[in-house]
Symmetry: D2
Subunit: 364 residues, 4 copies
C-alpha cells in the first residue's frame, strides 16, 4: 500500500536508496521446485549494470546479488526469496549541493512535499538504482514462466528511437541488439546514434528515447477484466519505470487514425489453431492475452541530470541556477530496456498464476 511492491500472487517488494548501505527485495510467490541460484540472476543485472560504456553512468557498481532465503538444495521452496546487493561506489558528496535545492525534472521537490524530508544523495529512493531489483525479480519471473508453462517464453526489448532518430523497422535484427551499446536492433541506426549521443553527452545535455518490448509464447487467457486487465497492468508496470512518459500497445496511438476494418485483427484457422492475420491488438483483447506476441512501446524523457544550468528554487524558497554534476546516463532510455523486460516478465508470471488459481486452466 505504500507503493514498494509489485504483483499479487507473484509479488516482490523492494527497498534501498541510491547511496544507502544496500538495495534489496523480497520475492514472494515464486513457484516451488525451480532450480535457482545467483547465476540465474546475475547476467540480467550485468546487462543493466552501470559503467559499461561511455553512454551510461560511470558509477562503478559490481551489482553482485546474494540470495538470502527461499532456496534449498538448489531449488526454490515456495518461501520468499530475499535478495540483497550491497552498494559500493556511493559518493554522496557529489550531491551535497542539492541537499536543499530541487533539481528540475527530478523527484526532489515532490518527495519533499510528500514526506517533509528526503534522502538527497543521488536521488535517494527515486534513483534508477532501485530498478536493479526489478531486474533481479524479473530474472526469477523468466524462470518461473518457463517452469510453469513447460516451454520457453521469450521476452526481449530494444531501443527503437533515440531523440528524433527512429530506426528503420525493415532493418530489424534481434541479433544486432547485443552488438551495440544502445540495445538497438538496426545496425545502421546504431552506427548513426553513436556520434549523435556522444555530441549530446559532450554538451552536458541528454536526450529521450522510445523502447519496444515484446513477449513471445504467452498463452491466451491471461488478464483479469475489467480493472486488472493485462494491458492495464502492463501500462502501470511501464509507466512506473523512471522517466517513462507514455505507453502504448499494438497499434497504440496510431490506432486513433484507423478505421474499424483496418484495425480489428482478422482470424483464420491454421494447423487447427486460431491464427490472427495481423496484430494491431498487440496480443491483448478485452484485457486478456490472445496468444499472439505481446508488443509494447514506452517513451522515456531525457535524463534530468544535465550539466547545463537550470532555473530552480530551494527548500527555503530562494531562486537559483543549478547544473547537475555527478555521474549520469546521457540517455536513460538505454538502460530502461532490461528494466522494461523485467517488468513484462514479472507481470506475466503474476497473471499466469492468477489464471491458474482462478480458472484452473492454462490454455495453449
Amino acid at each position: 500500500m505504500a507503493g514498494n511492491a509489485w504483483g499479487t500472487l507473484f509479488r516482490f517488494t523492494t527497498f534501498g536508496e541510491s547511496h544507502g548501505p544496500a538495495i534489496g527485495c523480497v520475492v514472494d510467490g515464486a513457484p516451488p521446485g525451480m532450480l535457482l541460484d545467483e547465476s540465474d540472476i546475475q547476467p540480467w543485472l550485468d546487462k543493466r549494470r552501470p559503467g559499461q560504456s561511455r553512454f551510461t553512468t560511470q558509477r562503478r557498481e559490481p551489482d553482485r546479488v546474494r540470495i538470502l532465503s527461499g532456496v534449498f538444495e538448489g531449488h526454490t521452496t515456495g518461501t520468499p526469496i530475499g535478495l540483497v546487493i550491497e552498494n559500493q561506489d556511493a559518493r554522496s558528496n557529489d550531491y551535497s549541493d542539492i541537499a536543499h535545492a530541487f533539481r528540475p525534472g527530478h523527484a526532489d521537490y515532490t518527495y519533499w512535499k510528500k514526506y517533509g524530508r528526503r534522502d538527497w544523495r543521488g536521488g535517494g529512493r527515486a534513483s534508477a538504482r532501485e530498478t536493479a531489483m526489478r531486474v533481479a525479480a524479473g530474472a526469477i519471473a523468466r524462470k518461473g514462466l518457463d517452469f510453469v508453462l513447460g516451454r520457453p517464453v521469450v521476452i526481449r526489448g530494444a531501443v527503437i528511437q533515440m531523440g528524433p532518430h527512429a530506426i528503420d523497422r525493415a532493418r530489424w535484427d534481434w541479433d544486432e541488439v547485443a552488438r551495440n551499446p544502445f540495445f538497438c536492433p538496426d545496425a545502421q541506426a546504431a552506427k548513426d546514434w553513436e556520434p549523435y549521443l556522444e555530441s549530446i553527452r559532450k554538451q552536458g545535455s541528454s536526450i529521450g528515447a522510445v523502447v519496444e518490448v515484446e513477449a513471445l509464447g504467452v498463452p491466451a487467457g491471461l488478464g483479469e477484466p475489467v480493472y486488472d486487465k493485462l494491458d492495464a497492468d502492463l501500462a502501470k508496470a511501464m509507466m512506473g519505470i523512471n522517466a517513462v512518459k507514455g505507453v502504448e500497445i499494438g497499434a497504440g496511438f496510431g490506432a486513433a487514425a484507423l478505421r474499424g476494418e483496418e484495425n480489428a485483427d482478422a482470424m483464420r484457422m491454421a494447423q487447427g489453431q486460431v491464427a490472427f492475420l495481423s496484430n494491431n491488438a498487440g496480443g491483448i483483447l478485452g484485457g486478456i492475452s490472445t496468444g499472439q506476441p505481446i508488443v509494447l512501446r514506452l517513451a522515456l524523457k531525457p535524463t534530468s541530470s544535465i550539466l547545463i544550468p537550470q532555473k530552480t528554487v530551494n527548500d527555503e524558497g530562494q531562486e537559483l541556477e543549478l547544473s547537475t554534476t555527478g555521474r549520469h546516463d546521457p540517455c536513460v532510455g538505454i538502460r530502461a530496456v532490461p528494466v522494461a523486460e523485467a517488468m513484462l516478465a514479472t507481470t506475466l508470471l503474476d497473471h499466469l498464476l492468477r489464471q491458474r488459481g482462478q480458472c484452473g486452466n492454462l490454455p495453449a
Copy 2:
C-alpha cells in the same frame, strides 16, 4: 484479485453484463459526512448515457441509478455505498449470430479461452456498458475530493483528435465542449467532424480518437513511489478503459525527442509558492503530484463492431465472415471522455486518502 475492483482506500467493485438484469457497484471508503443523493450522480451518468445523438449507440437506457446503502439523513456514513442500475433496453436477439462466432477486435475469443464459456449477449461483461458504474463511482469521488480538500478540484476532458483529424489547440475553448456532440473544445473542428463521422457511420465503419483529460487543483504530494506512482496508477486506469491502446502524460511520446534542458520544467517563486515555468511533466514528478495540472492523453481504437464483413472463426474452428449488426457507436472515443474523467477522479481521491493516512499531511 479477480479484477473487478479499483482503488485501495477509496475502492469500488462493479458487477453486471450488458444484457443481464442489472449493473451495479459497491463504493467502499467514501469519506463520511458528505452530502450525497442520486442527483449528485445522475448528471454524470446522463453525460455518458447512450442514445443522445446519432453519433452514439441508439440503445435507449435511462440509466437511472439507485443508492441502496451508505447514506443516512442525506449524508454518507462511511459505510459502503451500493449502487444499482436496472437494464431496460436489452435486445439479446441482436447478438444470437455471435453466440458461437468471435467478433474480430472484441474480447469474444479471449473470454472463451480464459473462462471456457462467455455471455455473448452484447459483449457481456466486456461491454462498455460496465463503464456506467465507473462514472457513478467517479461522481462520488469528485464530491470526495472537494470535501476532503475543502476547495474545488476541476476534472474535465475532451476529444482532441478524431481519426486523423486533430483539433487546433490555439482554438481550445472549454465552454465549447458542452456545445457539440463530440466533447470537442475546438468549435471549428467539431463542425468539420460532423460530416466526417456521419460518412464513416453510413459506410458501416468506425474510427479511432484521442482524448485528453486534466485535473486542476490537485495538491502536491499525491502518489506512492515506486510501484504505485500516481502516473502509473493513472496509466492503468486509462489503459483499462475499453478500446484504449495508448496513454501518455505531459509531453508524453513527444518527450523522447526532447533534450534535457528542453524537457525539465524550471522552477521559480511566485507569491511565495513554487511555480513551474512549463508542464512537460504533466503535473507528476517521480510518481508524485507537483501541484500543477495533471494532463493525460489516451488513444482509442475504432469501434470493433462494424457492418463491414470481417474474416473470423467460431468456437468449432470454422472460418466465416461476420458483419456486426446491433447498435453501436461509430467512435467510442466520444463516450470515453466521461469515463476517463471518472477514473481520474477515483484515482486521485484514492491517493489523497492514502497520502493522508501515510503521511498525515495534505500539502497545498
Copy 3:
C-alpha cells in the same frame, strides 16, 4: 481496505444497513462453469432467516435473494456475481430513542467516534442483518469447493454450549441438529435449553453461547504461511462475526495444559495414506491443512439488546438509563451457526484457489 470485503482470489464485498432499502454483495472470483441459480443460495439464507422460532428475532424478512449478474445459461461465467436482497420489514421507529443514546455492548458509540455520524436504525451497518450476505456468498463457496475438488466437502456447525450449559459430546448426533431450534447436536441438551432460554427471554435478558464448526474433506496443503495461515485467516473470519469474543482450533485453550507428547498428533500409514491418530491440531499444522477435519470453536457474547435497563450516555454527554425494545434474538449464538459455516466455506475456497495458483497442485 475500508473493510467490507473478504477473501483474495475468491472475494466478496457486501453493502447494506439493517433498515436501508436493501443489502447486497458482489462475489468475485467464483470458478467459471458451475451450475448456479437462486435455489442454490436460498436454502442457506432460510436457515439463517429471522422469525423462525420464538428464540430468534420476530422481524419478518423473506430474505429473497436475486442474482443480478455473473450467470449465463445456468452456469457461472467467471465474472462477478451481484446479489441483492430488498429489506421488507424495516421499522426504524423502533429505534428512534437510540438516535442519540449509545446502547451498551453495541457499536453505537464506536461508529460515532470513528465516522462522526451513524445510521442508528437497528444498528445500521453493524447489525447482524449484514451476515445474510456472508451466508449467500458461503452458499456459492460450498458449490465452488465441490466443483473444484470434484468431490463433496462437508461443512457443518452446531451450538455446543448455551450460557453455562454445555452439551454432552458423547450424545453428539449430527442428524439432531436440524430437529431443534438451537442447531444443537445433543437431543437431551436441546430439550433442557428450551425452558432455560424461554426464561431468559421472558426476563428480557439474553445469554451467550459456544458454536463449533467443522469441515470434512479438505485437502492437505491449503494455507499460506506465515501471515496468511489457514488458521489465522479462519480466526479472523470467525472473530469478525458479530458478538464473537473468542476462537480456538483443535485442542484450543485446552492445549495450554497439555504436554508435548499428549498434544502432538502421531502419524501412521493406513491404506497407503498418512493417517493421524488424533486431531489436537484441528486439521492445521504450521498454518497449512493436514487433510484431517478442520475443527473450530467460537464463543459468542449475549445479545446486547435487552429489555433490562442499562446505564449509558448520549452523544451530548448526558447520562441515562436505556432499555432496548425492538425485536431481538435472546441468544445470537444460534443464528451464528450458518454464518460461521459460510465463513469457513468462503475462506477454504479462497485458499484452495490460492494453492492452485501458487503451487499448481491440489494434493488429496
Copy 4:
C-alpha cells in the same frame, strides 16, 4: 498474497529460514520524520533472543539487526526500511534425521504436501526464528504509534498460565514481569513455575501456556467494519504466531456464560469523557476500539520438539519412531510474549493510519 506480509498502510514482509544465511524484512509505510536507529530495535530483539535462560533454546544468536534503508540523517524518510539479521549459530546437522521424517506437531508434513519439498533444517521457514522480524517490525510500530499520536501507547504482555498452573490475578504486578525468566506478573507463580518447568525440561517433554497482552492509550475509532474489524485482525495476528491454538478478547470464552446485563459494559461520564464501568469488551465494540485498554489472551500448545519418542512416518510412507534432538524451548509460550506484543503494535499502527486516511480524524 503468498502470505509473507502483514498489514496494509503499515506493512512488513519477511523472509528467511531458520538455518539459511539470514532473515530479514521490509517495513513499508512507517511514518516519515521519526527518529530511528538500530538501538530502537535491538532491545526488543534481545527480549525475544534465544539462549538467555535454561528455559529457552540454547541456540546462541546475537540477533544483531542492521538497517539497510529508509533512514537518513537519523530520521525515517517514508521509504521502505530494509532490515537484515545474519544467522550465526546454524547447526543443520542436528536436523539431518528429519530430512525425510515428519515431526509430529510440526509443519514438516504440511509443507511437504503443499510445496512438494521443504527446507528441513530446523523447521526452515516454519521455525519460530522468523518471529524475530515481527519483533523488529513491532519495535518500529511502537515508535510510530507514539509519533503519530503525540503521546505514549503502552503495549505489554505476560505469561498468565503455564501448563495447568495459572497465576493469581490478585497478585498481578507489571514490574515483576522483567524479574523472572517467564515474563510472569505474579512473583509467587514464577517461583512455583521454576521447578515445574525444570522437571518438564529434564523429562525431555514440554508444556503449553497462556499469554495475555494489552495496549493502553489507544484512541477510540480504530478498526474497519465489517471484515477488517480490529479484533478480527488481532485474532489473525495472534493465531498466526507459531503454536497458538486459541485467541480471545475481553471476557472471551467466559462471555458465553454471561447474561446480557452482566456482559455489556455500562457507560458514564467522567471528566467530560465517556467512561466505561467495566471492560468485558476488551476495548473493542463492533470491531472498533472504544478507547479502553485492549486486552487479548492467546493459548499456546506445548513445543512439538521433544526428546520423548513419537510415532510418525517419512516421505516414503514408512512408519517410525522419532525423538527430536536439537535445541528447543520447553515452553514456547514464554518467548511468544514479545512476539504477541509486536503483532499488537503493528496491527494498531496499521489501523491508526487507515483511520487517518479514511476518516481524517484521530479521536482521543
